[in-house]
Symmetry: C2
Subunit: 379 residues, 2 copies
């Protein structure tokens, strides 16, 4: 259920209750502008992924800077975006189940709605739902370009699905979805380059087969924060769909380090503020932020304000700081900013963004408190 | 934000939208009764931990079976329990920060409120907050009995804190909190026995020093689902505080297996229902439940209905089933029950419990839909 906000606008930053999800608004705005510029420079469209921020407020800022719409992963996420004012949503995902398909189709009465598919059976379900709701849905074929998750096989199998879409009265074939999820987190630039080169070849092979059937792609979409520069420069993709660049997390920062700092276009704009709730011994401090305030699936958070401190051994409600490598030891009640290991599922644990101006300067104040509107939008 | 419920009472189980948090109501009730019986047989009080279920509905059922109150981990969790009708809450945790201490103290106007501490500085903060609110708080000293998380050192240091509590006009010294968190997940019974024997020795040592200061303990509390039989039989602890027994999860089931099935008093009562959203190749199926529907911090979920299937490589919104070891392959749109790796943080991802009668029988129906009232109660 929705909890009260841990802060109010105008409040000194030092008074924010914890754990709280903090946004450095200045860094966020620079990140939004940089990605818009990068897409513009490459002449590709930008459709940021809303699964990261789950906030129509941020989505509308992305669109004000030129994004053509947003991506969503779930129907409930798309509903939240559309009802928050976003007029163009793409479900970068297969949608299965009659109730979800019905909601998806009806949403097309309120906004432009696209969806991905990877099977003939799902095309039939989409057509049925669109016909019943009296709408026309944009449908993209997702191909497996190396991630071994969802996606039809490239080339002929994907083209058969595209033909079925094109032949469905309430569906429009809108293009290909070619997103290599696991490549985003390959540690070195070389691994990521190889993966996206391979994916690009599979897209081109599929485009050739589609062409022989007389089908062209309005959208060739994909790319995440770990690889988008490669897709943008490829001349193959025409729509970039990154999400995490708005906030950046510790895992993407580890990519940067492995690349010798080359991948440094974006700044950390998201933090979890935690309080030292116990200092039972000189070599450790206990924070009030564990699994329920931070997603630890991609490694533990960093503690930028306390050099040498290591967050480890989290439990549900506690994080333990190993202070053996620290010169300065925090005191009981001190508050520390943590950079989450993985931003998307961390955001999903919180009800509120606490937006701060001048975050890393003394006397910072809370500027805005936004709902994480699509928190829990898992269906 | 709170999402609409994925089901309504009376609906056939097959129609529940996914991902959904499913409770086998029959198994839940058997688990509640078994723990109440076990505590009664050992002559110890039961104060179940509400951080697992976060539901006053379940808390009140536990109290109807004899529990003396519930444990909470956060002030906001305690507020939710008290406002849901629970008259006795114990924060099994240190509370730091002026805003939280103020809320904690004011809650004592509505219910009996206890809290743990492990430092003299925190005792002073508790006294100040209780004095300002005009209440008297029960305060327990948490000792570190082997978990190396929070907790004062046993013996003399813990006793000094107890004396400070006893000398504070708005605090009552209520006893010792001796919970060995990490021991709950030690894999074998022998490891757990050794850990709790050691912890028991530290409690006894502390009780002896307290006794020399004329202090006695109304509560000697602790014990989780992995070890409670040891604390109950020890003659040292008089209050058991387990949480996970209500639901059981895959990690606790792994304890059972390591013990040759001895630890089998409780049944799996909690599941995440997921839909097969893609079947891109014969060796894998993709489920619509990833990190945002299941906490994977203690291992991946089990798939009891599909022998040989292995959930692996989850991402934010997807789980991949490896079907190479399966005879039966699920089809697109099929729904599967997953046993979460770790129940507490999984519950915290959902807004609703979907309670089902006769869950594993054909024709099962949804019997009740309960709010996860303290979901997101992290502060």
């Amino acid at each position: 259920m929705t909890m009260p906000a841990p802060a109010r606008p105008g409040m000194p930053f030092d008074d924010v209750d914890t754990p709280a999800l903090i946004v450095d608004l200045d860094a966020l705005e620079r990140n939004l502008e940089r990605m818009a510029d990068l897409a513009g420079r490459h002449g590709v469209r930008l459709r940021p992924h809303a699964k990261t921020h789950k906030s129509p407020v941020i989505a509308l800022r992305q669109m004000a800077l030129g994004a053509v719409g947003v991506c969503c992963q779930k129907v409930s996420e798309a509903e939240t975006m559309v009802r928050g004012g976003v007029g163009d949503v793409l479900l970068t995902n297969e949608i299965a189940g009659a109730r979800k398909l019905e909601r998806l189709a009806w949403l097309a009465h309120e906004a432009r709605v696209g969806v991905c598919t990877d099977s003939l059976a799902n095309v039939r379900d989409l057509e049925r739902a669109a016909a019943r709701a009296g709408v026309r849905l944009d449908v993209l074929v997702e191909i497996d370009c190396g991630g071994r998750r969802c996606g039809a096989a490239p080339g002929r199998p994907a083209t058969e699905i595209a033909c079925a879409i094109a032949g469905s009265p309430h569906l429009s074939f809108a293009g290909l979805h070619a997103y290599h999820g696991s490549a985003q987190h390959f540690r070195t630039g070389e691994e990521r380059r190889d993966a996206i080169a391979l994916a690009g070849g599979l897209v081109q092979e599929t485009l050739a087969v589609l062409g022989r059937e007389g089908l062209s792609c309005r959208i060739v979409g994909g790319a995440g924060t770990g690889t988008f520069e490669l897709e943008a420069a490829s001349g193959i993709w025409n729509e970039l769909q990154p999400g995490s660049y708005v906030f950046m997390d510790a895992d993407y920062a580890r990519n940067q380090k492995a690349d010798g700092g080359r991948f440094d276009s974006f700044e950390h704009a998201l933090f979890v503020l935690a309080t030292v709730m116990s200092t039972p011994s000189p070599e450790r401090a206990i924070l009030d932020a564990g699994h329920k305030a931070l997603s630890n699936d991609s490694g533990f958070p960093e503690v930028p304000g306390l050099p040498g401190a290591k967050y480890h051994r989290p439990s549900d409600e506690h994080g333990i700081l190993d202070l053996t490598g620290c010169e300065h030891r925090p005191g009981l009640g001190d508050k520390l900013l943590l950079i989450p290991g993985h931003c998307d599922p961390t955001v999903n644990l919180h009800d509120w963004y606490v937006g701060v101006r001048g975050l890393h300067t003394p006397g910072a104040h809370v500027a805005s408190v936004w709902r994480v509107a699509a928190r829990g939008a898992i269906f």
